[in-house]
Amino acid sequence: MQINKIMSYTFDKEDLKQIDAIKAKYPTVQSATMPVLWYAQDKFGHVNAEVQHLVATTLDIPESHVHGVATFYTQYYKKEMGKYVLDVCTCFSCQVCGGYDMLHYIEDKLGIKAGETTPDGKFSIQEAECLGACGYAPMLQVTNDVYVNHLTKEKIDSMIDGLKEDKLPEYEEILPPQLISKD
C-alpha cells in the first residue's frame, strides 16, 4: 500500500470543530499548539513546514512559535515519514543490552539506515534516546505508540511481518520481577 501524497494541506470543517474544542480547553490559544500539532500529525502523518504553517495560521499564532515547538520534540515528524516509524532506543541501558545490534538488524532487514524511509513508504527507522523502558531493554517504539520490549531478532521478524499486514504489535504487560510468579 502506498501512502497518499497530500499535495496541499488543509483542515476541513470537522477538523476545525475539533481544533476549536482543543482551544476551549486552554486559557490562551498558544497553549493549544502542542495538541493541534498532534492532531495535524495524526491527519497528515507528519508536521512538515507546510503543516506548521497551516497550524500557525489556523490558530493565528506566530509561525516561529509553532516551528520552535515542533522542532523541540522528536515525536513530531518534521518531514514525511513511513507509515510505521520504528524508534529504536540506543541510549545507555538499551545500548549495553544490544540496542545497536537490534538497530543494525532492522536496518539490514529493511535495507535502509536510521533516519531513512523505505521506498514503498511503509517503514522509517529512527535512533531514539531513552524511552523510559530501560527495564525491558533493548526496546523500540512503533510510531509514537506501542512499545516492543526485550527485543530479539525473532521478535523483530514477527513484528515486521505483522506491520506489513498493518497489524500493530500487542501491548505487553510487564510486571516488575518481584511480582512475576515463579510457578
Partner: protein, 577 residues
C-alpha cells in the same frame, strides 16, 4: 526607607525593583547575560547567581528575631538565587562574588558549562572586544576547560535576514533576540528551535528575518552569534572611536553612536535615551553611514561649460558675492531645510536676510504612512520642527514652485530639490543656482556653484525632533580643516591616540574638504560688508536662544546633561512668530 545589604554594605532604596539592576546601578559588578532592562526576565543563563537571605520574622513575638548582639537573624535561601529575577525586600542580605566563595564557584562553573560547546574563535569574531561572554570569562571564568571532546557543531553563516547573520555555534541561548521580536518590535519572527545542546534562534521555515528593527538583536546579543551583514569583518571594535550623535534619517531624533575609524563612519548603534528611543533604533537609520562617507562633495565646484569643476574657496566666496551684487536681493529665493541643523538654518537665514533677501523658507518632507508609531516617522527630515520654530515659512510643493518661478537667484541649503522632485532642470534653467550641500546628487548637478558643507558627523549642531525635543551631535569625523588632536570635544580611539601618520591604517584620504555653513558665511561676510562671525555651532546656538523665543534658555550643556531639551510647543510658537 527600606534597606538592602549587599556585601556587608548598607543601601537604601525607594522604588522597588530587582537585585541585579540595583547592584549595577550602584557601580558594583555582577556578571549576567540574559537580563536586559527593557525586556522580560527569563532568568535562563544562571550567570547572576548570588546568595540571598532575609531577616527571620517571629510570629509569636510579632518582631524580627535577633541574636545575642541584637542583630537581626538572617536566613539564607538554601540554593543560590538569580539576582535578575529576585525582588528586593526590606532587610534583604545579598552576597555576590565579593563576599561569597559559593558565588565565585557558581560563576566559574556556569561559565565552564556555557563554554563547553562555545567555539574559541575570538580572534576572528566580530564581537571580540565588546563581548560580555569574553569579558566575563576573563573576570570570573575558569582558567581552562575540562571538556576535551569534540564540540557540538551547529549551522554557521546563516543569513537569517537581509541584514543579520547567525553563527549558531556561538549562541548561548539567552533568548534576548527572541524576546526582542516578541516584546519590542512585535514581529514574533524569531523562536528558539531544536533542543538541548543543538538549539539556536531561527525564523519559521523559509521565512526571512526582515524585521524593520532586526539589527537591534545584533546589539543585544551577548556573544558574536548575531552579526550585522554589512559590518562583519570591517573593523575590530577597539580600532574605532565612538561619538554620540543623532539619527538624521527621520524625524524621531533617535540617539545614536557613530563608530569611526580613519574618518570613515563604519557603523551606527543606538544610544540609550529613555525619552526618545530607549535602547533601540530602526535598521534604516543605520544606513546613514553611507551618507557620511560616500559620494561626498569635497572642495567647492563651479560650472564651466556645463561641467562642474573644482575651484578654490576664495573663488566660491567671490562668486557668491558677485551674484548678490549683480541681482536685486528681492529676487533671491533662500531655501532652508529640515535636513540641516538649527544652527545652519539660522545662520543661513541671518546672512541672507541681512543682505535684503526675503526670509528663508523650506519644504517639509513628509511621506504619509512611512511612520510606524515607534521609531520611524512620516517626517523624513531630522529638523522639520527646528525650521518651523525658526519661523521659516513651510512651502507646499506647489507654493514652492510658484516662489521658484519668480526668483532669479536660488540659494539652497542641503535640500535635494531635484531628487525630491520639487523642481527639475527646466525650472532651474536660466536661474543662478547656488547649492550648499554635503553629498553629490541630482540637485548639485544642476547648480552653478556648489559649496561643500559639513555633515552631521563632522560638526556639533542641533536638531529638533517631531516631539519638539532639541538634541545635538558631536563632530566624529575630521574634515580637512579640523583635527581630533586639537578639538577636545572629538573622541579618540586607540588608533587615534597611539597611531602615527605613517601607520597604514591612518590616511588623509577620508577627510572631506568642506566647511560648516556658519564658518563659510562668516568668512564671506566682510566681502559683502556684513558682520557675521561664528566659529562653532555652540556660538550659533547661543545667538539662536537669545533671539528666538522658542529656544530661550537652551544651550549645549543643558542638552548634554538632560539628554535633549523639550522646546515650547509649535502651536504657541506659530502664534507669536
Amino acid at each position: 526607607m527600606p534597606e538592602i545589604i549587599i556585601d556587608d554594605k548598607k543601601f537604601t532604596y525607594d522604588t522597588p525593583g530587582k537585585v541585579l539592576p540595583f547592584i549595577l546601578d550602584h557601580g558594583m559588578d555582577l556578571p549576567f547575560f540574559c537580563y536586559h532592562p527593557s525586556l522580560s526576565i527569563p532568568a535562563n543563563c544562571r550567570q547572576c547567581l548570588v546568595e540571598i537571605g532575609t531577616p527571620v520574622f517571629d510570629r509569636a513575638t510579632n518582631s524580627f528575631k535577633t541574636d545575642e548582639n541584637g542583630e537581626k537573624v538572617i536566613q539564607f535561601f538554601p540554593k543560590l538565587m538569580t539576582a535578575c529575577s529576585q525582588d528586593m525586600s526590606d532587610g534583604m542580605v545579598v552576597k555576590t562574588h565579593v563576599s561569597s566563595e559559593k558565588v565565585r564557584r557558581a560563576q566559574k562553573d556556569t561559565l565552564e558549562f556555557i563554554l563547553v560547546n562555545h567555539p574559541l574563535d575570538c580572534p576572528i569574531c566580530d564581537q571580540a572586544g565588546e563581548c560580555p561572554l569574553q569579558i566575563q570569562t576573563y573576570k570570573y571564568g575558569p582558567e581552562g576547560s575540562r571538556f576535551e571532546y569534540k564540540k557540538v557543531h551547529k549551522p554557521k553563516r546563516i543569513q537569517l535576514g537581509p541584514r543579520v547573520v547567525l553563527d549558531a555555534e556561538r549562541c548561548i541561548n539567552c533568548t534576548r533576540c527572541v524576546r526582542f521580536t516578541h516584546e519590542i518590535s512585535k514581529t514574533y519572527q524569531l523562536s528558539i528551535v531544536s533542543r538541548g545542546d543543538k538549539n539556536y534562534p531561527s525564523t519559521a521555515n523559509g521565512k526571512e528575518f526582515d524585521d524593520a528593527y532586526s539589527l537591534n538583536t545584533v546589539d543585544i546579543c551577548p556573544v558574536g552569534a548575531l552579526t550585522q551583514a554589512d559590518f562583519r569583518f570591517k573593523a575590530r571594535v577597539w580600532e574605532m572611536n565612538q561619538t554620540p550623535s543623532i539619527d538624521i534619517t527621520n524625524g524621531k531624533g533617535t540617539n545614536v553612536d557613530l563608530w569611526v575609524r580613519d574618518n570613515l563612519v563604519l557603523r551606527l548603534t543606538p544610544r540609550h535615551n529613555p525619552h526618545v528611543n530607549d535602547y533601540w533604533m530602526p535598521d534604516s537609520s543605520r544606513e546613514a553611514y553611507r551618507l557620511f562617507n560616500e559620494n561626498r562633495i569635497s572642495r567647492p565646484e563651479i560650472k564651466l561649460d556645463k561641467e562642474l569643476v573644482k575651484t578654490s574657496w576664495n573663488n566660491a566666496k567671490e562668486t557668491i558675492a558677485e551674484i548678490i551684487e549683480a541681482h536685486d536681493t528681492k529676487e533671491v529665493l533662500v531655501l532652508g531645510s529640515g535636513y540641516a541643523s538649527v544652527e545652519e538654518n539660522f545662520v543661513f537665514n541671518q546672512f541672507f536676510t541681512a543682505l535684503g533677501c526675503g526670509k528663508a523658507s523650506f519644504v517639509p518632507h513628509v511621506v504619509e504612512g512611512a511612520g510606524d508609531g515607534f521609531l520611524l516617522t512620516d517626517d523624513q527630515a531630522p529638523n522639520t520642527k527646528g525650521c518651523e520654530l525658526l519661523g521659516f515659512r513651510a512651502h507646499t510643493n506647489r507654493t514652492f514652485k510658484n516662489a521658484l518661478a519668480k526668483a532669479t537667484v536660488v540659494v539652497v541649503l542641503a535640500e535635494d530639490i531635484v531628487g525630491r522632485e520639487l523642481a527639475n532642470a527646466e525650472d532651474l534653467a536660466g536661474k543662478t543656482f547656488v547649492y550648499f550641500g554635503t553629498n553629490n546628487n541630482t540637485t548639485s548637478k544642476d547648480a552653478q556653484l556648489v559649496v561643500p558643507i559639513t555633515c552631521a558627523a563632522e560638526h556639533a549642531a542641533s536638531y529638533v525632533n517631531v516631539d519638539g525635543r532639541i538634541q545635538r551631535t558631536f563632530a566624529a569625523k575630521e574634515t580637512v580643516y579640523t583635527s581630533r588632536a586639537t578639538n577636545l570635544e572629538m573622541s579618540t580611539g586607540r588608533l587615534d591616540r597611539f597611531g602615527t601618520k605613517f601607520d597604514n591604517w591612518r590616511t588623509d584620504k577620508n577627510k572631506v574638504d568642506c566647511l560648516p555653513v556658519w564658518e563659510f558665511l562668516s568668512e564671506l561676510a566682510p566681502r559683502l560688508n556684513q558682520t557675521l562671525s561664528y566659529e562653532t555651532g555652540k556660538e550659533v546656538l547661543t545667538a539662536v536662544s537669545s533671539s528666538v523665543d522658542a529656544f530661550a534658555g537652551v544651550d549645549y550643556d543643558k542638552m548634554d546633561t538632560e539628554m535633549g531639551v523639550v522646546l515650547s510647543t509649535p502651536e504657541t510658537e506659530e502664534k507669536t512668530a
